[in-house]
Symmetry: C2
Subunit: 441 residues, 2 copies
Amino acid sequence: MSLDPQNEQEHAATLFTRWSETALEDRLMFFRALPPREAGDLFFGLSTHEQAFLIEFLSTSEKRIWLRALAPDDTADVLQSLPVDMRWNLIDLLDDSARFEVAGLLAYEEDEAGGLMNPRFPRIRPDASVREAISYLRKQAHVNLESLYYCYVLDQSQHLLGVISFRDLIIAKETDTVRSRMRTDVVSVNEKMNQVNVAKLMADHDLVAIPVVDETGRMKGIVTHDDIVDVVQEEATEDIHKIGGTEALDVPYMDTPILSLIKKRGGWLAVLFVGEMLTASAMAHYEEEIASAVVLALFIPLIISSGGNSGSQASTLVIRALALEEIRLRDWWKVFKRELVSGLILGTILALIGVIRIIAWENIFHSYGEHYLKLALTVSLSLVGVVLWGTISGSMLPLILSKCKLDPASASAPFVATLVDVSGLVIYFTLAKLILSGTLL
Amino acid sequence: MSLDPQNEQEHAATLFTRWSETALEDRLMFFRALPPREAGDLFFGLSTHEQAFLIEFLSTSEKRIWLRALAPDDTADVLQSLPVDMRWNLIDLLDDSARFEVAGLLAYEEDEAGGLMNPRFPRIRPDASVREAISYLRKQAHVNLESLYYCYVLDQSQHLLGVISFRDLIIAKETDTVRSRMRTDVVSVNEKMNQVNVAKLMADHDLVAIPVVDETGRMKGIVTHDDIVDVVQEEATEDIHKIGGTEALDVPYMDTPILSLIKKRGGWLAVLFVGEMLTASAMAHYEEEIASAVVLALFIPLIISSGGNSGSQASTLVIRALALEEIRLRDWWKVFKRELVSGLILGTILALIGVIRIIAWENIFHSYGEHYLKLALTVSLSLVGVVLWGTISGSMLPLILSKCKLDPASASAPFVATLVDVSGLVIYFTLAKLILSGTLL
């Protein structure tokens, strides 16, 4: 696909939607061909990862322009997406105050409040009048306060005393003091708080921005609503990747180098493979039974996959409910009871379908020999057992992982399926020995 | 667990975190025991579903108080979570203007912009001065504009002309006209736009609020940032449930009645079970081979589960990338090439582990007889084939579903696993016949 930079209709918006599929050299060409304002719209609309990708290939003078155009927290994010050896060269392109701010932000972990926050925010003294506050904001008009809606009231040592919204400033009398109009019951977060908790707190309180403070209550910056959507998406993506049995990719699928993609999948795949080898051992244990009644082998994939499927269902439901805090650890007994009932009923449904199938096939094709009713009994009881076991272990495993301070999302669908496969075989052959000994066995 | 309403420390915050595990009668008792302000903090912090749950059991006069305290869009959401026959009784408890607004909102689908929006927003004429605008906002101070940051500039027939932020009002000269200071390049959405697209647009532009207009450009309301986080969470939850092989639950796991839980899981489980029955047919087709070489049966679970696992990985990665628009349909060929390479390498890794295992077990336990090398070859080639097939079908299936205007997330881990199980058996036994005929077969 090629874009024509001369075509006026190919403005930033179009380019934006086609960005991910545009070849790198074309991206550079079109980006450079845009008028400054449209280039800005495009650049600020890109994800951190895409911004970093572009910055990496711009000339030094372009790098300086675009890095300086970003807010310090966004600059820090871009730098964090780039190789470590490039970071310090790029930091040198910033002006003194931004360099100081960005270096401070880089000291935080990416997933803590400090790593998300913008260190620039409107601050005011408590004894200022509303008129003074407004005049201060007017003077700050050159600073990019576009996404800011609150003034933070700080004492001389930067301790957060209260907050006043721009709207309250408008509504208040000009002679009122800021102190008399500010809200003092401010929800704030510690600079070390994990981003997931910051996002939850902001969502629970419907906040547009939340102040970040250090241990002593000194204000360091603000986390704004737009960061929260990113955090929520990021966390959901991580959980989805893990549920699918892959290590979280961190970067978009298409931008993940193929070797890293293989590494993130190969690790789990190999672990699951080694775990699944236990099925070969279990099967070897029952080799004699299979040899004397090959018909038993026919139902092995059907039975173990039913356990895996019901286990995947249970584990993904519980993983998501834990992530949304709909379930807590101490609810495990309630979850257990629900899954016990669900597992029994779901297993019975599958067992009935299984019995119908065996009887029908026997009557039509004479597939299973004279003991087909006993076979049907074996298969259907195994289905109830395996599905019940699948739902119970699928639902309890995320809770156990969570109890052990591990990520519940690691109880992925493939992981649960593998676990249930081995035990499914044991359930099936144990029942077969009990029911079929003396006839088929 | 019991809470003591007399204990001053059991304030709203504590109650809030314990809410979901508090029995219904206790919820009512504690809610009623709270001082009005704390009851408000608690109530407004609850999810729509929990608000509806509480409202349902309050007395009529309490219902009236709390429904009237909600913004019209939140009232509509609460009503939508309640049984249809209750809705109209509750609407009658509202005052005239709210009743009109809420009834209007209920006419929209829950997942379109109109169903999300708040019909109350500050509006101003373009020829007003900044001073007039500010004085208008002062008069509106009694209205709950807490989460509003913009004034919308409308003409007499409610067409949206522009927008001015509270901050711009503060910065502007009082004698300026609103028209001279407003932004006219306003991003707005149609009332029928799907909430997923609304959320994307707001996230891409970092908007705190987006105006909703009808076909003729008349403004109907605003969707605010707090709705977006809910939409993003909701969509991720739906995808996660589907990836786990369950119909999306719509309500939190713990609040889903057990019969509905079983229905949403049983449907897919039964479909997958019937699909998986093909494995029994496929196995029956190879009954003779199994009878003459039982050792072949030992590796069946191992081989088909490896295909299922690699397929789950590929499908969840592609489903999520599609949801985040990191991949588009036309990228299918790029995805195909990536997965081809990944599948080959991942399959080879598993094949090597498999070969080592067979050779080791043969040397230690003499498990597999004289033809163990040919067996190892069969197993390892099958693994490459099955894993390759798993990654290719797992990655292409979501794209095919999306092409057919179906939800790509329906290509769930269990669905892909089932699909790959059947073909995995065919691959395995075909290779076995080719390699082992004349020796084991």
